[in-house]
């Protein structure tokens, strides 16, 4: 579980630029890379060790707090209640996905405008900086009340706002990365403005966009889930965690946490794969 948690949270803290690590890994000054099997076996071993310590603490020593059940109990609950957990996971995942897509689309369009029109860039930059520091969680109760207790819209909006910032920042950066030699080439080939945008600026920005999307995906899931703690409809993973934690059903609350991790992991893996696909080709 610890290993899964670390993986699910990792991307949010990672560097903003598209994956450069592969290239850095090739440099001759680097120490010899670890054998391939060690690279996945080591974290797995650490994760297993954590799990064993956890079981020993709860089931053997019996000194763990009451709200920390054994991972075995959590897994049992997860399997047993899979039907209701899956239904709530679907609600939260949908909110996160809708928010992610809406927020990203808005971010891409606005970044495109900011990159091509200087006045718009000047107008947007401070606004985006402002949005970036808004504590999304603080907005949540207001949005939930605004759109009513039966609507998922408030939660989707929270996820959208949270996803917007990293996608906007990274896409805008990417749209400015086209190299002088490429711009010279397009100019000397008498390319039109729209041709240059479509065939040069956009493909250059794509890896950056995907990095933004990968970061936004995890944030969108976390936001959609946390937003459920602050009212709205009585469904979703977050609502269930809060309810069962309050009523002392520790194993079930943890089973829902595990469900939340699975959603985050799925979002992260899909967006990482997309990012990998577009960063396949190294610049020459």
């Amino acid at each position: 579980m610890t290993a899964a948690l670390r993986q699910a949270r990792g991307p949010a803290r990672q560097a903003q630029g598209p994956a450069r690590s592969r290239r850095a890994g090739r440099a001759s000054t680097e120490p010899r890379p670890l054998p391939r099997w060690l690279r996945w076996a080591t974290p797995l071993a650490v994760g297993l060790l954590g799990l064993i310590l956890w079981i020993v603490w709860v089931d053997v020593l019996g000194t763990a707090p009451r709200m920390l059940p054994s991972p075995i109990a959590i897994l049992e609950e997860f399997v047993l209640r899979w039907n209701i957990i899956a239904a709530d996971m679907a609600i939260t995942a949908t909110n996160a996905l809708v928010g992610l897509i809406a927020g990203s689309l808005l971010a891409i369009v606005l970044a495109g405008l900011a990159a091509s029109l200087k006045p718009i860039d000047g107008m947007l930059a401070p606004l985006v900086a402002a949005v970036a520091v808004v504590p999304i969680v603080a907005l949540t109760p207001i949005l939930n009340t605004m759109f009513g207790a039966s609507s998922q819209f408030g939660r989707m909006a929270v996820a959208a706002i949270a996803a917007f910032v990293p996608v906007f920042v990274n896409t805008l950066r990417g749209l400015r990365q086209s190299r002088p030699v490429h711009r010279d080439l397009f100019r000397s080939s008498a390319a039109t403005g729209s041709q240059t945008f479509r065939l040069l600026t956009l493909p250059t920005a794509l890896p950056y966009l995907m990095t933004g999307l990968r970061i936004a995906a995890s944030i969108a899931v976390i936001s959609a889930l946390v937003a459920e703690y602050f009212g709205g409809p009585a469904d979703g993973v977050g609502t269930a965690i809060a309810t069962y934690a309050k009523s002392g059903r520790a194993a079930l609350a943890w089973a829902y946490v595990f469900g939340g991790i699975l959603i985050g992991l799925a979002f992260f893996l899909v967006t990482s794969l997309l990012e990998r696909l577009v960063t396949r080709r190294q610049p020459v």
């Binding site: 490429h182 397009f186 080939s189 008498a190 080709r281």
Partner: protein, 283 residues
């Protein structure tokens, strides 16, 4: 490897130049370029008088800061001349660029990493909206011309530096330009690859019949390739000498060892330094 540009019966792209200037691919009169900076204007180039005949191979050589790259960029209309008139096939540089009268290659290959070799070579044709069938045929021709047939579907990061530069040259030739502009295209390559590509280039140039303006800072390279070498000097950037090379049309590897070749190398070196160069055995 066979490098043969099929002889085309169709005339090259672009409108026909007006009578009288047919002979000149490039005609520069009193061309200068000044870059405004905070500390005042910097004169990068001044008083350039240069004529390049159709099919002629001309090298621009000189130390860094002599404006050789600037002159090439002016001809390519990547920058605009501050003074003087510049005509490409009798047209203003801007019109020539829009008509695609020239092809260009830079020191960096400038290949798009997300496109295959074939996709990169076909880019100029794609930008000018030529049909897919026509484009495929032309790309195949060009890939053969630069000897990269097996690499058509590779991506630039899978090629060596020399191969990347060959792709860039093929791309520059895509729309059958009558003028080829090259800005130190072999500058970043090792000596062996460099000499090999020089031979290839003389062959390609004579087979396509295109005029070439070639920027370099290598004296042997300029001598080996050119019909004429234009010697330039910095502060302010200007042309100080124009040397005819007259080594004949056939540029083979034997030429590199011939006394005539070394004679021209010495001549260019003296023109660059402004004084006769003392030889080691004459000291």
């Amino acid at each position: 490897m066979t490098l043969r540009e099929p002889q085309e019966s169709t005339p090259p792209q672009g409108s026909t130049p007006p009578e009288g200037s047919v002979a000149h691919a490039v005609r520069a009169a009193g061309v200068g370029k000044t870059f405004p900076t905070k500390e005042g204007d910097v004169v990068a180039l001044t008083g350039v008088e240069l004529e390049v005949a159709a099919g002629e191979f001309v090298s621009l050589i000189g130390p860094s800061g002599c404006g050789k790259s600037t002159l090439l960029r002016l001809i390519a209309d990547l920058d605009e001349a501050s003074t003087g008139t510049l005509e490409i096939f009798g047209k203003p540089a801007r019109t020539a660029r829009l008509d695609q009268d020239y092809g260009i290659a830079f020191q960096q290959s400038g290949l798009l990493p997300w496109r295959t070799v074939a996709g990169n070579i076909g880019l100029p044709l794609e930008l000018h909206g030529s049909g897919k069938a026509e484009r495929t045929a032309r790309v195949r021709e060009l890939i053969e011309l630069v000897g990269l047939t097996e690499f058509a579907d590779r991506y630039p990061d899978q090629l060596s530096g020399g191969m990347q530069q060959r792709v860039a040259i093929a791309r520059a030739l895509a729309s059958r330009p009558r003028l080829l502009l090259m800005d130190e295209p072999f500058g970043a390559l090792d000596e062996m690859t460099r000499e090999y590509l020089q031979s290839e280039l003389t062959r390609i140039a004579s087979e396509t019949g295109a005029a070439v303006v070639f920027v370099t800072h290598s004296i042997p390279e300029a001598v080996f390739l050119s019909d004429r070498v234009v010697v330039m000097s910095p502060r302010p950037g200007r042309i100080t000498d124009v040397l005819p090379i007259s080594l004949g049309a056939a540029r083979t590897e034997h030429l590199r060892e011939s006394p005539e070749f070394f004679e021209r190398v010495t001549a260019v070196r003296e023109a660059l330094h402004g004084t006769p160069v003392e030889r080691a055995n004459e000291r």
